[in-house]
Symmetry: C2
């Protein structure tokens, strides 16, 4: 039996230790641990990596602490527009949605696009209609209502801030990558986007090659960060190309892209990555990234800052 | 003064010589030549490649023969949902719209996203609101009405065909790439998508790295073809990576991706590409691709099939 492993993130950015209470730290790490355990246990039961990343991301979407699904931020109109993608490394099939507002779990809608249509990306009202037709669990606006997110939005509105301010409260994404016991890689990403975003803005999360990528030949990647710069850098596929065409290791490719190329253009953020051997990388150039990983070889880690004591 | 050049396409696919009358052939090649001349003359007047590709794509959007702008196909609801992207190779800035329905020239909306926002991709109703706020030329549904496209749609509806049938009438895109006398590369792509498409389906055209790419270090690319397979192959950026990381020439990289990798997965279509030296490639694995190119070194070509006599 092939070894297996999973890694996930709950967003990256300017996560200030000053505003982090022990209670919040515990809540975040518990949210990460719950998703990690769900994904890991599926892998241990010989489930596919696709099932594992979907289940882990669903768990993060269901947790109001993270900006995806139930915890999605408010857009400028006081609504929730969510994006998600999923990709299977065996045959590079992929599905994604952008600007979906009614799916309880956007990652589930992305998987339905992948498995039940011949398309890759469905958007907006069309994506909502698809979710309804497929009988995916749908929710009204009040499901996504969250006092904390509402106050964030009110504050952004009052400050008249453009959507681009990357303070802690403005960005966030969740994602997972996994290797299963059949040797197949998968990746999934989900986000509520930026607080107070306008004009149907779409970031990198639902874009195959930018925020999400999986190919058994190289790696599976899920990104989080300044979406526009991640799109223009085709971050996830760039790492795969550095491995395939230049012979870099996963770690070398991740360091090159996250710590050099993105830093050079001010592209704040990070990603989780796994290769076909089960090696995991979780690089970030921001002050923190909510992250967790566990391998069948006994490695486990849950962390937020670069140098915080590992929870596990 | 640096040499300069432009190449453009008006879509690829199963373009049957049997249904091509001399009149139609002339009309298509005249549409291509008009766009080519507009772009070329801008370059000759020392305009930037960004201006040249935008103007060439606008000209193709304004021509009802091509599936973009005025000639955009009908979706399942009898509406027009258009996608476009533009990218500048000097600094890899980019802008794109998907599911826009009121902009006379979606490529112009894409450029406004690039130059007047901090975003890369705006979608649906939000993209429409943005176009209106920016005072871009907007049109009502009747502007996009076209008897031929309407009959195509009625036929698709009657046949109950899913959106995936890639017959001549179901696909189409326009695009341009250029090198200007300052040595800067640009690319732009625009499409009405697939006839009878549902659910806000988005193809590769507006996705940076998939259907559109420009980087002075490597090349500028605009794709046309089976969008889903082009997305999953990150076609445009793959060619750039094969050049940068593997040292392939533009021709070798284009052949590898279009004639080998895409063929292996049934990804029908083609692309126009230009490198920093002004070399142009216009590969396609379908029976035809509407295409044209002209360089300051005196090369000019307008063609539809692989072996038709070149018009110029």
């Amino acid at each position: 039996m092939h070894n297996f492993a999973i890694a996930l993130h709950g967003g990256a950015g300017t996560i200030s230790p000053d505003t982090m209470t022990p209670e919040k730290y515990t809540a975040y790490t518990q949210g990460l641990k719950k998703a990690l355990d769900i994904g890991y246990e599926l892998l241990a039961a010989r489930a596919s990596s696709l099932d594992a990343v979907e289940a882990a991301v669903k768990s993060l979407e269901d947790c109001p602490l993270f900006n995806a699904g139930k915890g999605a931020v408010f857009n400028n109109a006081g609504k929730h527009e969510m994006d998600a993608a999923i990709m299977f490394g065996l045959d590079k099939t992929a599905g994604a949605v952008c600007g979906i507002s009614i799916a309880r779990n956007p990652v589930q809608a992305a998987r339905a696009v992948m498995e039940r249509t011949q398309h890759v990306l469905l958007s907006g009202a069309g994506a909502n209609a698809f979710a309804r037709e497929q009988n995916l669990p749908c929710e009204h606006d009040d499901y996504f209502y969250n006092q904390f997110r509402f106050e964030q939005w009110q504050e952004s509105l009052a400050e008249g801030k453009v959507q681009l301010d990357h303070s802690e409260k403005k960005m966030g994404t969740v994602g997972a990558v996994a290797l299963d016991c059949m040797g197949n890689l998968s990746a999934a990403t989900s986000t509520g986007g930026m607080t107070n975003k306008k004009y149907g803005r779409v970031g990198d999360s639902p874009l195959i090659g930018a925020g999400t990528w999986a190919d058994n030949k190289t790696c599976a990647i899920s990104c989080t960060g300044h979406g526009e710069l991640f799109i223009r850098s085709v971050v996830a596929y760039d790492i795969a190309c550095l491995m395939e065409y230049k012979g870099l290791s996963l770690q070398e490719a991740c360091d090159k892209v996250v710590m050099e190329k993105l830093v050079a253009i001010g592209g704040e953020g990070g990603l989780v990555a796994i290769d076909a051997a089960g090696n995991i990388q979780m690089p970030f150039n921001s002050s923190g990234m909510y992250r967790a990983m566990r391998t069948s070889n006994g490695k486990e880690e849950i962390a937020i800052y670069g140098s915080d004591e590992k929870v596990v």
